[in-house]
């Protein structure tokens, strides 16, 4: 009690000092704790983007849920996409708690998505024209997601760290689900093999982009310094991209597949992968909702939202 009173009497600067001390000591910050505006805004942006990406991420796979080529695959992909929606729900709840003091709700998140203020991951703006893409999304996109999310498992914000713990556990199953589809195709007929190689070629640049630009010089802004300062994450975008290469390049090659980048190699001396930079201007354009499927998927979401307006109104009447 006396400690609480003492805290109220502190200046903003003292509060900030104590907050940073807690963070640096590895303590978890909880939803009702005092936090600097900057921290709150960074978390809202990060977590609502993560949450909405899980939800928009269901759409490229959605095409393949009804079309999955066997009962086993149908069940697998249904379970997987359901998990993604569940992750979206979990994360939006975390974001909602952070937004409460600002007077914002789920409705604002959805409206921000539709208006383009809230962005979603570049990979979910891309086309997924074959069953090979369905497998590749599970294998490499989820594989990339595991790498970025593992990097935040010890995030200073407790509710996010706990949500990620559950999400990461499920993502491992997704990556296995994706890998199983890819293995079946890679060991299958010529047509099936071609399907996987096409998917790798199509997704490679988007996968490199997934980790974000190496530094602010590439795209003008980067939140990574702020998130590292606040111990939300530990590694940089480039560290994560390198981790991805180390984990997945040998696996891709061992399936007899090739990478659409002839310059790609491991530099033994510098101990890092050398690769062709993706087109970062294109990246900026994609996440501004100008990717090949951005408008179609936003349109689908928006139409569903409008079509179901009467249901939400009826629920509000009932409650």
């Amino acid at each position: 009690m006396s400690e609480a009173l003492f805290f109220q009497e502190m200046t903003e600067e003292q509060k900030y000092g104590q907050f940073m001390k807690r963070i640096n000591a590895g303590e978890k910050i909880e939803a009702d704790d005092w936090m600097p505006e900057d921290y709150r805004m960074t978390l809202i942006k990060l977590i609502s983007m993560h949450g909405i990406s899980e939800i928009m991420g269901a759409l490229p796979e959605k095409e393949w849920v009804p079309k999955a080529p066997s009962l086993k695959r149908k069940l697998g992909i249904m379970a997987k996409v359901q998990d993604e929606m569940g992750h979206g729900q979990l994360l939006l709840r975390v974001a909602e708690d952070l937004m409460k003091p600002l007077g914002k709700t789920r409705e604002d998140i959805m409206q921000d998505l539709f208006s383009g203020r809230l962005k979603f991951h570049n990979v979910f703006h891309m086309e997924a024209p074959t069953w090979g893409d369905a497998g590749l999304i599970g294998w490499l996109v989820d594989g990339a997601a595991i790498i970025t999310q593992t990097n935040m498992l010890n995030a200073s914000y407790g509710p996010y760290a706990r949500a990620l713990k559950r999400i990461c556990a499920e993502e491992v199953f997704h990556a296995q689900h994706g890998e199983a589809i890819i293995m079946a195709l890679a060991e299958g007929t010529g047509e099936q093999r071609a399907m996987v190689q096409d998917a790798v070629n199509r997704w490679w640049e988007a996968l490199l982009m997934f980790f974000g630009p190496g530094d602010a010089s590439t795209t003008g802004t980067s939140k990574q310094d702020t998130t590292i300062k606040y111990r939300i994450r530990t590694k940089t975008n480039e560290d994560l991209r390198q981790d991805f290469f180390t984990k997945y390049i040998p696996r891709v090659l061992s399936l007899g597949l090739t990478l659409p980048d002839e310059t790609m190699h491991f530099d033994q001396e510098r101990e890092l992968w050398v690769y062709k930079q993706p087109d970062w201007n294109r990246f900026k354009d994609i996440i501004k909702n100008n990717g090949p499927k951005s408008q179609e998927r936003l349109g689908l979401r928006r139409t569903a939202y409008d079509t179901n307006k009467w249901v939400r109104e009826a629920l509000n009447t009932a409650n």
Partner: protein
Amino acid sequence: MTEPAGNMPIDAKIKPPMTSLLYQLADDDFILAYRGSEWLGLAPHIEEDVAFSSISQDTMGHAAMFYQLLADLGEGNVDSLAHARKTSERRNAVLLELVNGPGHYLSSAQYDWAFAVVRNYFYTQAKKIRMDSLKNSSYQPLAEVALKVNMELYYHLLHWKTWFIQLMQAGGEARTRMEAAIGRVLADFEGVLNLGPLAKEMAEHGLIEKEEVLKQRWLFIMKPVFETVKLAVSEADLAMKTGNGRIGEHTADLDDALSTLSEVYNINPAASW
């Protein structure tokens, strides 16, 4: 008790009603789970998306178990049963194959949530009654599957019933839309309760109870629910307007659904996917 296939051949007289029943059970769940999967990402809110996709996944799992029973009886492998049979060979009720609403599931979908709620609720109640009856089936493998299915059905039923009552009691536009959906569903609900031309033999061999008994049970269980929401429904409202799926009568909606759901399978049915 009839022995499962593999141990000894099934009585030639029992096999036709048995496979007929299994095709109905499998095809009903399969096509409705497909329709459910088209809803993915489009439900009224995110929580519902999670719940509905979980139900569709369970339902697809039930279809897979029923197809497996058919495969055990020598009807072919489960994936060809699910993906390769023509429209005229399907035995699902027509109501369950109808589209979710206007538009395509990837672009312009304007799906009707009232229709989803009513179709799923009425069907799930009928399925629950069927599974309760099948728990005592003379065919032991079917009785065992019914027991498993029943465990999940409890939650499905609770889910749809909650939606049904809530939207019916909301009044206004919701009530109007729900009543329209009820009209559409009842107009083909006889097709769900129908057990096809071999219904009599199914009952005689103790595979499932009589069609009429199950139908009266459905009406009896639904009566208090209809009373709660102040809706007059009688047996005379049940019809089979769009055709009898149990004898292979279907709509163009099923043709479209089958070509979508077997698109990848058909690239090479012999390949391993």
